[in-house]
């Protein structure tokens, strides 16, 4: 058995494990949407915490963070330490309110909650449809990550396209077997595996390349490429990433529904605290590997990696995202490499499964159940959910075949879309005075989402727009326009009586 076979076999063992967990969780599944999606709102601290943390961190965290550390240096730590902790604070403050409202009013999706608060079916469809489109970008990056891991882990024996499809099918199988219950159960395994994996990778790779630790790497970089030791994003980009990966990401459907899983306020708040520590500390070992890779990239390592290997990887895979997997394969024992790459698969799958689940939830609960075939047995909706998961998986895989670029850039498009939910959601979780009505919410959200698509390079180029240098900045532009339009339209239109009555109901849930 050669090294690549050992590594690949361990990844397969991991896949079998998650399918078994999916099967077991499916056996205790009740045929209701509430159980299929939000565990009947009974999760304790451990499940809520690990489900949130593992879902937040995806192929993005395991692969692109290392790639970004290797190419832009500690800039990524400066921004990510701030946005991950901000995301947890948002969960602590807004998440708890969303949970209380969800319990009291029976929400299980973002579109559900917003349509109920604003008494608008148009808003329901708009949020469900726009979010389903934005999250495709997120599904694509997991597909890209899975393809890279399998290709590099198998030494090219399982090429990118087939590796991606294979691992996506594994995630879809356990989701079909157990619904989001399977995602929550596997998240516990995946959350631990990926965290242990990234720390092991960081310590082992840094130990091998720079026995003096991070200060040693910094000294080498100070001589070779000092720009990697400073903050290289301008304040606008920093603010943009803070906003899109803080509240923006926490409002995407796959994380929003996590607030409904927790059994009580204490479980959700304790989970938010754990999430702050987990998410931010995760990037410490990622920095170790990324900065060590930057040194190797500058000087080369005879017989192991050539000078400028990152450019070669970028040419081969369409982005630098393959750096982490390459470092693992080159600098660790094959058994350990298998374990660590399974950690990387965990990171991607734990997010992919939640996206497949939450997107199918949006489309089933908010569109199919209401407008296509209302009043049918819950088992039919569960079946439709399963079919939609498979369809969305295939869409994500198709776009991944086009090798769309750096995972960080693609992910940013989706979270910039999530940021557009902020104004209308804040009104819902802080119902002190009625400032935003349904007309304002709909117009602001639509304008913000369109502007994000137009000003983002990957999509705006098709419309001949003057695109911004990053989706994070497009997200800020969208949010600014969104806020102005929301407030102006709400001010000049009359709030329906029915909406005001619901507003009073929300106020009493949160303040009395």
């Amino acid at each position: 058995m050669d090294a690549y076979q050992i590594t690949t076999s361990i990844i397969f063992v991991y896949c079998v494990l998650v399918i078994i967990i999916g099967f077991l969780s499916g056996r205790v599944l009740k045929k209701s949407l509430e159980d299929f999606y939000v565990l009947s709102r009974r999760a304790g601290i451990l499940v809520t915490f690990l489900a949130t943390a593992a879902t937040y961190h995806s192929a993005f965290a395991f692969l692109t963070s290392v790639a970004t550390f290797a190419t832009t240096g500690i800039t990524f730590w400066v921004a990510s330490s701030a946005w991950t902790t901000l995301a947890a604070v948002f969960m602590y403050l807004a998440g708890v309110r969303l949970m209380k409202l969800g319990k009291a009013r029976g929400h299980i999706s973002p579109a559900d909650a917003l349509a109920d608060f604003y008494k608008s079916e148009l808003l329901r469809v708009l949020v469900a449809a726009i979010m389903a489109i934005f999250v495709i970008a997120y599904i694509v990056v997991q597909a890209v990550g899975l393809g890279l891991i399998m290709d590099i882990g198998s030494g090219g024996a399982i090429p990118y396209a087939y590796g991606s499809l294979l691992l996506m099918v594994v995630a879809t199988i356990y989701m079909i077997l157990g619904g989001l219950r399977a995602a929550y159960w596997t998240d516990v395994l995946q959350g631990v595996w990926m965290y242990v994996g990234v720390f092991l990778a960081g310590v082992l790779i840094l130990g091998r390349l720079a026995p003096g630790g991070l200060p040693d790497v910094m000294n080498q970089l100070r001589q070779l490429k000092p720009g990697l030791l400073t903050m290289n994003w301008d304040p606008l980009m920093m603010l943009g990433t803070l906003m899109i990966y803080g509240p923006g990401l926490m409002l995407l459907p796959h994380l929003w529904i996590k607030y409904y899983v927790a059994k009580d306020e204490k479980a959700l708040k304790a989970s938010a605290l754990g999430t702050a520590i987990y998410l931010s500390s995760y990037y410490i070992p990622a920095a170790m590997v990324g900065l060590a890779a930057a040194v190797v990239n500058e000087v080369g390592m005879p017989g192991v990696l050539d000078k400028g290997f990152i450019s070669a990887l970028t040419k081969q895979y369409g982005s630098a995202d393959a750096v982490m997997a390459t470092m693992i394969i080159k600098f660790t024992h094959p058994v350990l490499a298998g374990f660590l790459l399974a950690g990387a698969v965990s990171a991607a799958m734990s997010t992919l499964d939640s996206f497949l689940g939450s997107t199918s939830l949006l489309l089933t609960r908010d569109i199919y159940q209401r407008y296509v075939r209302p009043g049918k047995p819950e088992s039919e909706y569960v079946l439709v959910s399963r079919v939609l998961m498979f369809v969305w998986m295939l869409i994500g895989w198709y776009f991944a075949l086009l090798k769309p670029g750096l995972i960080f850039d693609i992910t940013s498009i989706a979270v910039a879309g999530g940021l557009q939910l902020v104004p209308m959601t804040l009104q819902m979780v802080i119902p002190k005075a009625k400032i935003i009505n349904k007309y304002g919410a709909i117009s602001g959200f639509a304008v913000g989402s369109v502007l994000v698509a137009l000003f983002t390079a990957q999509t705006g180029k098709y419309f001949g727009m003057p695109v911004t240098y990053h989706a994070a900045v497009a997200g800020l532009i969208g949010l600014a326009a969104n806020i102005v339009v929301t407030l102006v339209v709400s001010f000049v239109t009359r709030t329906p009586k029915e909406e005001l009555e619901v507003f009073e109901g929300y106020k009493s849930i949160l303040y009395k």
Binding site: A82, L86, L93, N219, R222, A276
Partner: protein, 73 residues
């Protein structure tokens, strides 16, 4: 035994926390004032050292507030 806080008390506590959050995250931008590759604490660049310290303080503040809040304020 701790008594549950009244909605008014909880509101004040949350407002104070939000104010602290705004100050803390504004301080994250202070990194631009020390943005240099020169060695600082433990041989780390001054940018990285500042950011690590900011993160440590932030995590400690979050822990302190969460413990206070979950104990009933």
């Amino acid at each position: 035994m701790t008594q549950p806080a009244t909605p008014k008390h909880r509101g004040k506590r949350e407002s104070l926390f939000v104010a602290i959050v705004i100050v803390l995250w504004a301080a994250a931008f202070g990194v631009y004032l020390v943005n240099s590759p020169a060695p600082s604490l433990w041989g780390l660049s001054s940018t990285y050292a500042y950011s690590l310290m900011w993160w440590t303080v932030t995590i400690l503040v979050l822990i302190a507030y969460a413990v206070y809040d979950l104990m009933g304020g």
